[in-house]
């Protein structure tokens, strides 16, 4: 009872604290100079329908490389700290039901394809490399939830991860050589605005980001699973 009252008091405190924010909220009417440049020149210069994508992949592409590197370090850290520690309790875990197992076996490939769809259409839809990678990883989580004995070929995983990371950097350098700067997407044809093969190298770059993020997150989930059993 005391706990419930305490929770209510904390919730009320947050409500009072956040109320002025909601009351005095006025949306920005004008863009800042940097944003204005992106909004006005972005679609023409880079040919990407999703402006956020053109900012993430091209204008601030170097930052994205840093983000992927941070994720890689996180995955490596998880792998390092979750090395086989013998656990005391070996209570048998309850297996999942047949229905969930076969349902997952049917859904998993569809989820993979959906993840690929998201990162391949990063320049047209609100998706992108990171979101697609997370969808792929959620499919993997579902697989591990349905059968604890499910295994993934780690060699393939590492191969995908390293190849996509290396290709990402290689495309960045290609942009430096063939176009104006690192990760410049304009060394490929910009194509027709709004179709799949448009926006130069953006779909390619986002695919590699998506594959890399997906492989890293699947690796993290896989390491946690190994630590559990």
């Amino acid at each position: 009872m005391v706990k419930k009252i305490f929770i209510v008091i904390i919730l009320g405190f947050f409500a009072v604290m956040l109320l002025p924010l909601a009351k005095d909220f006025t949306p920005f009417q004008e863009l800042s100079p940097v944003a204005e440049k992106y909004v006005e020149d972005g679609p023409e210069e880079l040919g990407s329908a999703n402006l956020v994508t053109s900012v993430i992949v091209t204008y601030r592409g170097l930052d994205t490389l840093g983000e992927v590197a941070v994720l890689f370090i996180a995955a490596a850290g998880v792998g390092f700290f979750l090395r086989k520690e013998e656990k005391g309790d070996k209570t048998p875990k309850r297996g999942s039901s047949q229905i969930l197992q076969s349902g997952t076996a049917f859904l998993f490939p569809l989820i993979l394809a959906f993840g690929v769809y998201i990162f391949l259409h990063g320049h047209l839809t609100p998706g992108g490399g990171f979101q697609g990678g997370v969808v792929i990883a959620s499919g993997m989580v579902l697989l591990l939830l349905s059968s604890a004995s499910a295994k993934i070929n780690e060699n393939v995983l590492h191969l995908v991860e390293s190849l996509s990371g290396a290709s990402y950097v290689a495309i960045g350098i290609l942009g430096l050589v063939l176009a104006t700067g690192f990760l410049d997407n304009r060394f490929l044809d910009l194509g027709e605005f709004g179709t799949l093969l448009s926006a130069g190298a953006i779909p390619l770059i986002y695919s590699f980001i998506g594959l890399k993020v997906g492989a890293e997150l699947v690796g993290i989930v896989n390491n946690m699973q190994k630590d559990q059993s």
């Binding site: 047949q98 229905i99 076969s102 349902g103 076996a105 049917f106 959906f114 690929v116 769809y117």
Partner: protein, 180 residues
């Protein structure tokens, strides 16, 4: 626990033919998914075919659950009939729930009954369980081999045969032809 694992093993050890069928069907499903997701032009279709082939290859070692589908004209016909039966039952079940919820007396007589299914394929049992969950007054709680445990909101039969006849057989006769 051990029993379940042995069960899985016998399923995965079945023939290469089944796996091939599963892969082809999965590829078709993936192409269909892609076609529904994207606008129609040549670029998208080629991309969809390539992605579907890659995903189908990548998941080649998984359980070939779709390998149990039967591809005869009769099974297609039964699939169509099944879809209509399913929609009918779904609407009836919703009206049923609505009636029970609105009634101030809350007329329920719940319990968990045991029923038996003749289906052998795993995906067939999954579809059966899902159909049972979405039809009037029933909810699949657990499955042990060929016995399904079903929460029934208003028990009409106490015994296994009667409950099986009431709950399972309206779907089973179609699913048996489609999945075996």
């Amino acid at each position: 626990m051990i029993k379940i694992q042995i069960k899985i093993k016998t399923y995965t050890e079945s023939g290469a033919m089944k796996r091939f069928k599963h892969t082809v069907l999965l590829f078709l499903f993936l192409v269909l998914l892609w076609a529904l997701l994207t606008p129609h032009n040549m670029q998208e279709i080629w991309a969809g075919v390539a992605v579907s082939a890659l995903v189908a290859l990548f998941t080649l070692r998984m359980d070939p659950v779709l390998g149990d589908l039967k591809l005869t004209p009769k099974s297609f016909l039964y699939l169509l009939i099944y879809i209509f039966v399913f929609i009918k039952e779904l609407v009836i079940s919703n009206l049923d729930v609505a009636r029970r919820v609105v009634d101030p007396k809350l007329p329920i007589k719940p319990g968990i009954v045991k029923v038996k299914t003749k289906l052998n394929s795993r995906i067939g049992r999954t579809i059966l369980a899902n159909s049972i969950t979405l039809t009037p007054g029933t909810l699949t709680v657990d499955i042990k081999d060929e016995y399904l445990y079903i929460h029934w909101i208003e028990i009409k039969h106490d015994d296994l045969e009667g409950a099986t006849k009431d709950i399972v057989q309206k779907f089973e006769k179609y699913l048996e032809v489609i999945f075996g």
